[in-house]
Amino acid sequence: MDFNELLTGSLQQALGPTAVVYCLAAIGLNIHFGYTGLLNFGQAGFMMVAGYAMVTMSTIWGQSLWLGVLVGVILTVILALMLGVPTLRLRADYLAIVTIAAAEIIRQVISAAKFSDDLGGQDGLTGFIKPFRKMNPFDEPVGIDGVVMWSPNDFWVMTVGWLLVVAACLITWLLMRSPWGRVLKSIREDEDAVRSLGKNVYAYKMQSLIIGGLFGALAGFVVALRSATVGPSFFATDVTFFAYTVLLIGGAARVLGPVAGAVIFWFLITVLDIAFGQMTAGADPIIPASIMDSTQASLMRLIFMGLGLMLLMIYRPQGIFGDRRELAIDGR
């Protein structure tokens, strides 16, 4: 087995653009679920709306990416309001199901063949990345020689992405130490109690949904910039589940939980992927093809991830940095 490749590849992913995407999505979920107790399973929907908004502003209307970002932000807020009005009064389990459903509605509508002229259908959209790449100050691969390397494009996305992560974490920290954050945490514990103290629970939940959704929108922008394309497959239901896994690994209701979670998650996932890939590759693989072929090897990381999520939730629900006593997830 090639341990060098294992380490290099895993580091590349652990700090790479994809980790940034999941980190931002999980920061949003941290606001929703970690602090407010809102089980939003539709984060992929927020990402998709924002990502497509940014891209279509340039592909359909020929506007700049900046305007695309602005429109994405506005649409995300509108989506949060539209989703919040019917769902925020619901029980936690209903909320989970309705938000999943909403994300699926968004995905099926955007990817519909009927709108494929404008939105690209199943294939998605490309051809918007030039202005972003033009701003790229890096023109050579960046990294530590012999350990890890990123292409200039990837590194440019990472730079922007991690800066966004820093900003998001800072905002989260500022908010959560304030009385506003205290109300959110109280709602997570018992919303009727908070109501009885004269707080407009509904308004706070809505604010939480919007802010977490906006972090999701940032994730959506980075998805588009990372791949230079957007397509429905980037925003499947599983994306939200992965983001939850990221959040829970790091620890819900911790400002830096999603950051640690994203890095660890992508490191482990890539280690598994490369390891099983290597074990099944070549003419005389370590694992015989009758037991596992290379397609099956690519499933191993998801199998382990499912197993890992279960075990994590059972044995260490507070994640790596969580405090067992102040644990967000043992609800009734």
Binding site: L39, V85, P86, T87, R89, L90, R91, A92, D93, Y94, A96, I97, V98, I100, A101, A102, E104, I105, Q108, V109, A112, A113, K114, D192, D238, F241, Y244, T245, L248, Q296, L299, L302, I303, M305, G306, L307, G308, L309, M310, L311, L312, M313, I314, P317, I329, D330, G331, R332
Partner: protein
């Protein structure tokens, strides 16, 4: 002890009964396809080979019985309008167009079959000149072009609605079976089980496995391999449910794991199982060895295949049986008591864990049965259950999570709505419609259609 024995006996009787009904109804599937008279307008027998053919016939319905219209040119076009094949209707009004290439290439595509109007006899007009078909299976596809006076350009909305209703009913009963299990498990344990879809897929896989065992099973000359497969799915599905509960959920309940945590565990389980399924079964869509291509009966203007009728009847029988079990047996009453108030139920001497165990077995068996029958009606892949999970959830939530009648009512609302909505919107939006319906209903009644509001304070 005596009580325990009696309870056991009731459950066994129920199981045997269910099995009997299942077997009886499934035999209908194998037997008696309709025989159209040769002199009249005949249906083409589907071929059982690897390619997909489009079969059809053209009938003049001004005559009673309808007569065949020969010599009409028919073409098949893909979405881009490219012509893929053509044929001319023969003496008996039928035509066969073989699609080029293997069946896999056509899966998921949508083709339009077009009548060349200029080749029609004088004074006749087709009621429709083109039909669009979605290829979801590697079966042959049957299309029918009724010809009459220059009348309505399309079959009436009413006919269309009736035809969609058939599909809707099939889907509804299967959805109801799956939803019943989900709802009962939620009712007794509070678990929102995101891995319920995998219980459905499991059934389809078990039936497939039995089907693929070497040899065939016959009774009195009729092959019943798939029937045995479906029965097997029901039974093994129950065992799988028991395993789920014993190995995972019961220990978690003992530890006092929170409901939200359990919900997330179930997401992990869903991911795990789904990929295990793909590992062993691959990603392609599969069909069973029987009932892939059956000749439909014609009832008035509506086409109904024997297997659709069987699934509807069987499904209704299973639902009636299950609800009667819940309504009238001791165990059923205990189940409802636990769903209503677990603490009180256990205080009155009901063995709550036992009830939950039974619910898991029954719920998973129903889900597996639904999965196997979905496999029979439309084929399956490793994502079968995951794909319809949202609709199953929609059905349960619509009816109010945890209520038994709610799940069934919800399933029929969702099942019929998805199909009938295609009368007015593009079929690609039919799931969207159902999910929107869910959101709208929850907006009006946050506790579901039949659920009750929760107590505060």
């Amino acid at each position: 002890m005596a009580i325990a024995l009696r309870r056991g006996a009731t459950a066994t009787t129920a199981l045997v009964l269910l099995g009997a009904v299942l077997a009886a109804l499934l035999t209908v599937m194998a037997g008696s396809p309709a025989h159209a008279a040769e002199t009249r307008c005949a249906l083409v027998k589907p071929t059982d080979d690897d390619t997909i053919s489009i079969l059809g016939r053209i009938c003049d319905r001004r005559e009673k019985p309808p007569v065949a219209v020969p010599g009409v040119r028919v073409t098949v076009e893909d979405e881009a309008g490219e012509e893929l094949g053509e044929a001319t209707s023969s003496e008996d009004g039928t035509f066969v167009i073989d699609l080029p290439g293997t069946s896999i290439e056509h899966l998921g595509k949508s083709y339009t079959v077009v009548l060349d109007e200029s080749t029609l006899p004088e004074g006749t007009k087709p009621e429709i000149t083109s039909r669009t078909i979605d290829i979801n299976l590697d079966n042959d596809q049957t299309v029918i072009f009724p010809i009459g006076d220059a009348g309505p350009a399309k079959p009436s909305k009413f006919t269309e609605a009736l035809q969609l209703m058939v599909g809707g009913l099939v889907f509804s009963v299967l959805l109801a079976m799956a939803a019943l299990g989900l709802s009962m498990i939620f009712g007794t344990t509070g678990l929102t089980n995101f891995a319920h879809g995998e219980l459905i897929t499991f059934g389809a896989l078990v039936a497939f496995f039995i089907d693929r065992l070497p040899g065939r099973i016959e009774v009195g000359g009729t092959e019943i391999t798939v029937i045995v497969g479906v029965l097997g799915a029901f039974l093994v599905g129950g065992v799988f449910g028991w395993l789920n509960d014993t190995a995972l959920w019961r220990p978690l309940r003992r530890r006092g794991t929170g409901l939200v945590a359990m919900m997330i565990v179930s997401i992990g389980l869903s991911l795990f199982l789904r990929n295990i399924y793909q590992y062993f079964a691959g990603a392609q869509t599969r069909n069973y060895s029987q009932y892939g291509a059956v000749e439909p009966w014609e009832i008035g203007d509506i086409l109904l295949t024997p297997k659709e009728l069987t699934v509807i009847l069987l499904g209704v029988a299973v639902l009636v049986l299950t609800t009667s079990l819940l309504q009238f047996t001791r165990l059923g009453k205990a189940t409802r008591a636990v769903a209503d108030n677990p603490g009180l139920a256990s205080a009155t001497g009901i063995n709550v864990e036992r009830v939950i165990g039974t619910v898991w077995i029954g719920g998973a068996a129903l889900a597996a049965l639904a999965g196997a029958l979905l496999g029979v009606t439309q084929g399956f892949d490793f994502q079968l259950g995951f794909r319809i999970l949202l609709l199953v959830f929609a059905a349960t939530v619509l009816g109010g999570l945890g209520t038994i009648w709610g799940a069934i009512v919800g399933a029929f609302v969702i099942g019929l709505f998805t199909e009938l909505s295609t009368l007015f919107v593009d079929p690609e939006f039919k799931f969207v419609g159902a999910l929107l319906l869910l959101i709208v209903i929850l907006l009006i009644r946050p506790q579901g259609l039949l659920g009750k509001a929760q107590r505060i304070g």
